[in-house]
């Protein structure tokens, strides 16, 4: 192993270690959500009942302002997510929730894109494997000469 490649291995190892440290720090830290972040998240997850296509977070309608205040109070009182959102569902119906239910037919909304990536990725991997097993064509001297000749004519024409 040459000195150059050894220092590269060290460099990659350092990068790897740094990545692990960063990941651990982030995971440890992201466990605790601040009250403000919770209010923001919950108000993004509820539709404004009097608007079209706006969330409680995005709307300036007075209903949305009232709902934001109720969410804030709920968070301050330490209630759980469900305890905060359930009264709204009771009052306005299921479609107040902006996140489709993961059960039932709503599951396709979550599953389809995942299936596409998984299926597409698998298909790609299989195709690549098959391609890499197939014998590669080896250029003969005649091929090389043909390419060189065409290139020369092409360069003359385009320059």
């Amino acid at each position: 192993m040459s000195a150059g490649s050894r220092s590269r291995v060290v460099a990659w190892a350092l990068i790897g270690i740094a990545l692990v440290v960063v990941a651990v720090t982030v995971v440890v830290r992201s466990g605790n959500e601040t009250d403000e972040q919770r209010v923001a998240r919950l108000s993004r997850s509820l539709a404004c009942p009097v608007c079209t296509g706006e969330s409680v977070a995005a709307s300036n309608a007075s209903e949305a302002q009232v709902m934001r205040r109720q969410i804030r109070e709920g968070v301050a009182a330490g209630r759980s997510d469900a305890e905060i959102t359930d009264p709204f569902v009771v009052a306005y119906g299921d479609d107040i929730l902006l996140e489709p239910d993961a059960g039932g037919l709503g599951a396709i909304v979550w599953a389809l894109p995942v299936l596409l990536v998984a299926g597409g990725g698998a298909a790609l991997a299989i195709a690549l494997r098959r391609w890499s097993r197939a014998p590669r064509l080896v250029a003969t001297a005649a091929d090389e000469e043909l390419v060189a000749r065409l290139r020369a004519t092409h360069d003359r024409e385009t320059s």
Partner: protein, 688 residues
């Protein structure tokens, strides 16, 4: 008078479009040169008709001709001049009129560009398809979306209703919709050539070369249109965000996603002759999605599935969409076998494999946006069940895809075509990867939280460092080989391969936007408070005090502004005035936020209510990090697109005395262009 001119112009354009489409199709089918040449003559007729109709509408708007329903509904005497002009695209009929004009301009420009190939059936069929699309839109204006309908009452009103309050509040309204439409409509050109390629059976790489510039132009306009739309919503809507994943926004994002996938996959076909069906499908999907977007946003279907039957336009658009999708599928099916290509991909660590991964992610992104937008409609239509899908879904699904795309953007541009060796990878990726990880560590040390955010910062830095290295190595090699100064070397290097370097500039813009999205979606601080005169509130280092309200009344609107003094660290940053306006025509008040922009963050002040009985106003104060980089990123993307459009300049290769240095330059240039170097041990054989 104006009505007569307008209606006549629309009829002229529609007649020109149908005549031209038929004559061209017959000529192309029979290979009859005279018919094909005659058919082209109708293109200027369509253009003149479209210009005439738009001119008549602008004349009517600016002279307040309230005998026209459209003018009455969208302009008032007190409407400022700018918003009188922009009223053209303030409502459905006018928007379609603008659509028709832009389409006519694209068709005329394309006909002019291909004037020397007027006898070529590929061009004739493409023009016929374009004119057929134009016919649909002009027929729409002669049918259910007539902009020149008379006002219902026999007596002409003295004043109009004025534009929608949200549409007469900000000058960006003058730029955002035309840009967006220039993007949407532009994809008609690559679509028409794709269909033409299928009809003529010449679906090699020719149609790609023919439409490269049109696709780029359309993509650039769409990109700018979307960014301006985000900016408009940030500056006008007052909730502190720029993207709400509402159906109108999603409708503009969908074709952008498939078009961006196409911009990348097209290179695989150019290089390797593969992915023919996929590229045709992407172009057709992009065009179909622009029509689907128009249907979603213009038929009223979003408010309620049952609303769209109230206007005929929804049905028209749906039928047109069906014709496009089915027609294209049939054409591809008929050509099935001939479209197959024998290509292969040699290694997963190659440029083309990376492009395939890129396309998979873009397709998934588009699917997420499409399902999220359409599923509630389907659920209501099919099962009579009301479901909402909003930001939580889109965030959860698109964040990992976005991270994946950032990763590919960092790695793919340095991968050579065909195959790569570990040595090459190490050489090109070690330093950028180290920079990326270092940035991650620094941001975490400064308190960054959230997996997606930290990943976006790190990958963004990885990507920028890779692009910087790309430019640096190329410039360095030229300087050594040709003894040029830095500026000249960089300029000539870009001129030598504008597509590559323009593309990298676009990537820089994407990184800026990605980082800004990550930061603003994770670290926004927001408070909603009630303040009486003299009270203040502190948030993220800014102290905001309420000084009092001022009321101003004009003919257009009456406005209450809250005077807010902003201080940070003892420095007085001035007085900002978020306001609430009431327009005579609108029932609800419209808030206008006031934003203090800086490189690091924006202070966003938005008034939610005027003084109550206790003299307190309601105000939302948000500190949004890095927002300005969204707009800068958009400008950088536009700049990169322009660079891509610069014609390539080939230079004579170095020879003789400089030959030794020349090898280095060639190797470096090959490095940049993603070629595998001649001495690279992994290169095997010639292509099939």
């Amino acid at each position: 008078m104006r009505q007569a001119i307008g209606s006549f112009s629309l009829t002229l354009a529609a007649t020109g479009a149908i005549s031209g489409a038929v004559v061209l199709a017959v000529g192309a089918a029979r290979h009859d040169v005279r018919w094909m040449r005659l058919g082209r003559r109708f293109v200027p007729v369509v253009l003149i008709g479209a210009i005439g109709a738009v001119a008549a509408m602008q004349w009517a708007l600016n002279s307040h001709d309230y005998s026209l329903e459209y003018v009455y509904s969208n302009v008032a005497n007190a409407t400022p001049r700018l918003f009188t002009i922009t009223a053209l695209w303030g409502a459905l009929e006018g928007s379609i009129l603008l659509w028709g004009l832009i389409l006519a301009i694209y068709i005329a420009a394309t006909a002019h560009r291909f004037r020397a190939r007027a006898d070529d059936p590929v061009v004739a069929w493409a023009t016929a398809v374009q004119l057929f699309v134009a016919l649909f839109f002009f027929a729409l204006m002669l049918g259910p979306a007539d902009p020149f309908t008379s006002h219902a009452s026999p007596i002409t009103p003295f004043d109009g209703q004025g534009p929608n309050a949200l549409l007469q509040n900000h000058p960006l309204m003058a730029f955002h919709p035309p840009m967006l439409y220039a993007g949407y409509v532009g994809f008609t050109i690559p679509f028409s050539f794709a269909i033409s390629a299928l009809i003529t059976g010449r679906f090699g790489e020719g149609w790609l070369a023919d439409t490269r510039r049109a696709s780029l132009v359309a993509w650039g306009f769409l990109t700018v249109g979307i960014v301006l739309g985000a900016w408009w919503s940030y500056e006008v809507l007052g909730w502190g965000g720029y993207w709400a994943w509402d159906p109108v926004e999603n409708a503009s994002l969908l074709p952008w996603l498939t078009a961006t996938a196409f911009m990348h996959s097209v290179m695989v076909q150019e290089r390797r002759g593969m992915l023919r069906v996929w590229n045709l499908s992407l172009v057709i999907a992009t065009f179909a999605l622009t029509i689907l977007g128009t249907f979603l946003t213009r038929s009223g279907v979003i408010e309620s599935v049952h609303a769209f039957s109230e206007s005929d336009i929804g049905v028209w658009l749906l039928v047109f969409l069906g014709v496009i999708v089915l027609g294209s599928l049939v054409l591809i099916g008929l050509r099935g076998d001939a479209l197959r290509t024998p290509g292969r991909i040699d290694s997963p660590l190659s440029r083309e494999a990376a492009f395939l991964a890129n396309n998979l992610l873009f397709a998934a992104f588009a699917l997420v946006v499409l399902i999220g937008t359409v599923y509630p409609l389907l659920a209501e239509a099919l099962r009579d069940e009301r479901v909402s899908i909003g930001e939580p879904y889109f965030r959860a699904m698109t964040a990992p895809i976005g991270i994946g795309l950032l990763f590919l953007m960092a790695v793919a541009p340095v991968l050579p075509w065909r195959a790569t060796s570990n040595a090459v990878l190490r050489d090109r990726l070690l330093v950028p990867a180290a920079v990326g990880v270092a940035v991650m560590a620094v941001t975490v040390a400064f308190g960054a939280r959230g997996n997606a955010q930290v990943a976006a910062f790190g990958l963004g830095a990885f990507c920028l460092a890779g692009i910087g290295r790309n430019f640096g190595v190329g410039v360095q090699a030229r300087r050594r080989a040709r003894h040029e100064g830095v500026v000249r070397a960089a300029g000539r290097m870009v001129r030598g391969n504008p597509r590559l370097y323009g593309g990298l500039v676009v990537h820089v813009g994407v990184v800026l936007i990605g980082v800004a999205i990550a930061a603003s979606s994770g670290y926004t601080a927001k408070r909603e408070v009630q303040l009486a005169t003299g009270e203040s509130v502190t948030i993220s280092g800014y102290t905001v005090s309420y000084l009092g309200s001022v009321e101003t009344v004009t003919d257009q609107k009456s406005t209450v502004s809250a005077r807010m003094r902003v201080e940070r660290g003892g420095d007085d940053l001035g007085v900002y005035e978020p306001s609430i306006s009431t327009f005579p025509s609108a029932t609800t008040a419209i808030g206008t936020p006031s934003v203090r922009t800086s490189w690091r963050n924006d202070l966003y002040l938005s008034m939610s209510s005027t003084e109550d009985a206790d003299g307190r106003i309601g105000i939302t104060i948000a500190v949004n990090p890095l927002i300005v980089w969204l707009w800068i990123g958009g400008a950088v993307m536009a700049l990169g697109t322009v660079v891509c459009l610069v014609p390539r300049r080939r230079e004579p290769s170095l020879s003789g005395a400089g030959a030794g240095a020349g090898v280095g330059a060639v190797a470096a240039a090959a490095d940049m262009a993603g070629e595998t170097r001649p001495e690279d041990p992994t290169v095997v054989g010639a292509s099939t």
